[in-house]
């Protein structure tokens, strides 16, 4: 094994000699000695609800000021989180804390094991929610590579007037409801461009939407032990379903959507149903859009198997780089951030849900009651939205989102292979090809399954992903 750093150092000579591989040896990384944690640099996404950043930045700086630490917070767009991490790992310098909004597992080798941080938090607040645990811990390498402070539910957003007009005032409850409703919506609203707005494009929201469809039909990329099981009758059923839905209720527009497109289409009343967090709704509120009075939510839809699952919309994963010179401060900051879970949820206008429910509990609760107390506080906010929902309990269903929310990698743990499949759109492309007829559902499944196995095998060789013997 060799390292890129070594190659850079010895590069010219090695290339010239053509013996680069043989000449390089193992890496030795040493931390800068004597750095007394006077600074802390945090890389944070630009939150989809801007009020959150207005809270987070002063919160971090004030936390540092009390300890004599100069805290710097840099924000990047969500699409730049991973490229930026790649660059910092390659340079072995940059921020101390890096926030991922999806999977940080590919960077496991270069981050601290944060078992002590999670241990501290569990002692204070009890267990974290299961999907946060499954997104930040690798049971194969037994490393707690990240800490999650929040996750975001991903409900269905529906246009109540339109669905009332076709006789379903409470919106869809099953995937089959969408197929049945689409032609009726078309009939009643012939000018509406996309009756059902589920993205099938190379973007983050589509990535989640197609996983929901896959899981609710009983399929998945991997099983709980990390074997690739995409090639299955259940996946085929999900693809056949997508093809039916596309033919009756969608257009090519959904193949080109970016992360903002479904919000824009819904807010312009050009579609009647989308899968999204409440950020689109908050935008409609902020701009007092005409759609607002018709904007309602439903939980994840049920598939033919009776399964009702949705991917988390965002799962925070804070890592502390091994090259950080402020590691202890970084860990302390993460604990402080989770201590402030209530403020975080309110600053994000109920977009963020705490990963440690106990951190939102009433003060002085016994440990055994903390989770329950935190859940009750969360429910109270959702049942009586302090940010002007009409009716006030419009977001009540979010308080009950945990049972139908799951992690990327379901039914197993998140891992680097799942991350690469997510970031290279293997599953969205499979659905898009099957839905549009670019490939038959079976061929689309075979193509995606082959690529999936290729990716899993690559990560297995690196010793970071389990499974293999039961690959299909």
């Amino acid at each position: 094994m060799h390292t890129r750093r070594q190659f850079m150092l010895q590069g010219g000579k090695l290339v010239a000699m053509g013996v680069a591989g043989a000449a390089a040896g193992p890496t030795v990384f040493t931390r800068g000695a004597g750095a007394a944690d006077k600074t802390l640099k945090i890389l944070q996404w630009s939150h989809f609800v801007p009020s959150y950043d207005k809270w987070f930045d002063p919160f971090a700086k004030e936390w540092g000021a009390k300890r004599g630490i100069e805290v710097t917070v840099d924000h990047v767009g969500f699409a730049d989180v991973v490229p930026r991490a790649t660059a910092e790992v390659a340079a072995q310098s940059g921020h101390d804390i890096h926030m991922f909004i999806g999977l940080a597992s590919a960077f496991e080798e270069h981050v601290l094991d944060l078992k002590d941080v999670v241990g501290t938090l569990e002692k204070k607040y009890g267990k974290q929610v299961e999907l946060a645990h499954r997104s930040t811990y690798n049971p194969f390498t037994k490393k707690q590579f990240a800490v999650s402070d929040m996750w975001v539910p991903d409900p269905g957003n529906y246009h109540k007037k339109i669905w009332t007009d076709i006789g379903q005032p409470n919106g869809p409850a099953t995937y089959e409801d969408l197929v049945k409703a689409a032609p009726e919506i078309k009939k009643k609203y012939p000018n509406m461009q996309i009756p059902i707005g589920i993205g099938l494009s190379q973007d983050i929201d589509s990535n989640m939407a197609v996983r929901n469809m896959l899981w609710c039909h009983g399929g998945s990329i991997q099983d709980k032990d990390g074997n690739v099981v995409l090639n299955s009758p259940e996946t085929l059923a999900a693809l056949e379903y997508a093809k039916r839905l596309y033919s009756v209720g969608m257009t090519q527009a959904v193949l080109s959507w970016n992360a903002a497109s479904n919000n824009q289409a819904f807010n312009a009343q050009e579609t009647s149903y989308i899968l999204n967090s409440i950020s689109a709704y908050r935008t409609a509120q902020d701009n007092n859009l005409p759609v607002l009075e018709h904007y309602f939510f439903v939980p994840a839809l049920k598939g033919p198997t009776g399964l009702m699952l949705a991917s988390e919309h965002v799962m925070s994963g804070y890592v502390v780089w091994k090259f950080s010179k402020s590691q202890e401060s970084a860990k302390e900051f993460l604990v402080a951030l989770i201590d402030a879970s209530r403020e975080s949820m309110l600053a994000s206008k109920l977009y963020n849900f705490p990963s440690f429910y106990g951190a939102a509990s009433e003060p002085a609760q016994p440990m055994s009651k903390k989770y329950e107390s935190g859940a009750a506080w969360i429910a109270k906010q959702c049942n009586n939205d302090p940010f002007g929902s009409k009716p006030v309990d419009k977001l009540a269903l979010l308080a009950k989102a945990l049972p139908w929310s799951t992690n990327l990698g379901h039914p197993g743990f998140a891992n680097p292979a799942e991350g690469e499949i997510f970031d290279t759109y293997v599953i969205t492309d499979m659905f898009a090809k099957a839905a549009t007829g670019a490939l038959s559902p079976k061929d689309a499944m075979t193509e995606a399954s082959n690529r999936t196995k290729e990716i899993f095998n690559k990560w297995r060789k690196k010793g970071m992903v389990p499974g293999g013997p039961k690959d299909r």
Partner: protein, 311 residues
């Protein structure tokens, strides 16, 4: 020359030699920053990419093993890669053809005197000066699948009936049309300026002599203008081809390679696989796949440049 004369001439010969040596040293000194820049920011990353393409390097790790040509073997059997390879050629040649034809028309128009010529020149140069990310965002709205300005105009004009719509970025063919359109819009000013420079460098006397000899417009175009423009035209084409072969901005900002990876070019696919997907070895192998072709193009480019110097 006598011995005495030779002895007298010697100091002046030495002085010339010393001056020449100093000139050479100064030349090297002045070239050094450019050479350092090319070595550090072009050659070194390029060699690194070449090297990484032979490894299983991934984004989250500094460790790797040599895998030989395995990455190349894997990508050449991949349908998405083959599609991206085809798109790269279509993207490059169609856009260059359009740039040359339109650039020529614009350059000839700008040779004439007319009112508002300065404003027209400014407008033509504007796309070259605008940051591509900002400009593409504007184009993103123009081609947006739901809110496309083109579609709404066509609808108002009655061209599109009920239920008819162009999904510019949601259809593989229209997606390529959109990508090529934006790229042509972006490269046109550069090409126009180059061609304008070429046209103005042809001495007026040559055309006058041709007029006296009774040459018609076609004969003048093919026997005077084109041959005299050829070196500069070739440089413009080769520059454009190399630039387009290696560009990913427009594709990435407009379609991100979608729908279903059907509009990727090699550069954008390399970014998706290598940086976003974290498979650096695979990404590097895709990125440098066209290296042999680009080397040939670069050699041709250098030869043509030399020819242009003579002219």
């Amino acid at each position: 020359m006598t011995t005495a004369e030779a002895t007298l001439a010697a100091p002046s010969g030495n002085t010339a030699e010393t001056l020449s040596r100093r000139d050479r040293r100064l030349g090297k000194l002045l070239l050094a920053p450019a050479l350092a820049y090319i070595f550090l920011l072009v050659a070194l990353p390029f060699l690194l990419a070449l090297f990484l393409s032979l490894t299983n390097s991934s984004a989250g790790s500094l460790d790797f093993s040599f895998v030989g040509l395995q990455n190349f073997k894997n990508v050449v059997t991949n349908a998405v890669f083959l599609r991206a390879l085809r798109n790269t050629f279509i993207f490059t040649f169609v856009s260059q053809l359009l740039v040359m034809v339109l650039g020529n028309i614009l350059a000839r128009a700008l040779l004439k005197s007319f009112r508002g010529k300065l404003l027209v020149r400014f407008l033509i140069l504007l796309p070259w000066a605008a940051p591509i990310s900002l400009a593409t965002l504007g184009w993103l709205w123009i081609f947006d699948s739901t809110f496309s300005v083109i579609n709404w105009l066509l609808k108002v004009a009655g061209w599109l009936g009920p239920g008819q719509w162009y999904y510019w970025l949601g259809d593989p063919t229209l997606g390529m049309v959109a990508i090529i359109t934006v790229h042509v819009w972006r490269l046109l000013p550069f090409s126009t300026v180059i061609l304008l420079a070429g046209l103005t460098s042809i001495p007026a006397e040559v055309h006058e002599a041709a007029d006296i000899d009774g040459a018609g417009p076609l004969a003048k175009a093919f026997q005077i203008t084109l041959p005299m423009m050829l070196p500069i035209l070739t440089v413009a084409i080769l520059f454009g081809v190399v630039f387009t072969f290696t560009d990913m901005n427009v594709v990435y900002l407009l379609t991100r390679g979608g729908p279903y990876n059907s509009t990727h070019v090699l550069a954008s696919l390399a970014y998706q696989e290598g940086v976003l997907g974290g498979d650096v070895g695979r990404g590097a192998s895709i990125a440098i796949f066209l290296l042999p072709l680009l080397v040939v193009l670069a050699v041709v480019m250098l030869r043509v440049s030399r020819r242009a110097e003579v002219v």
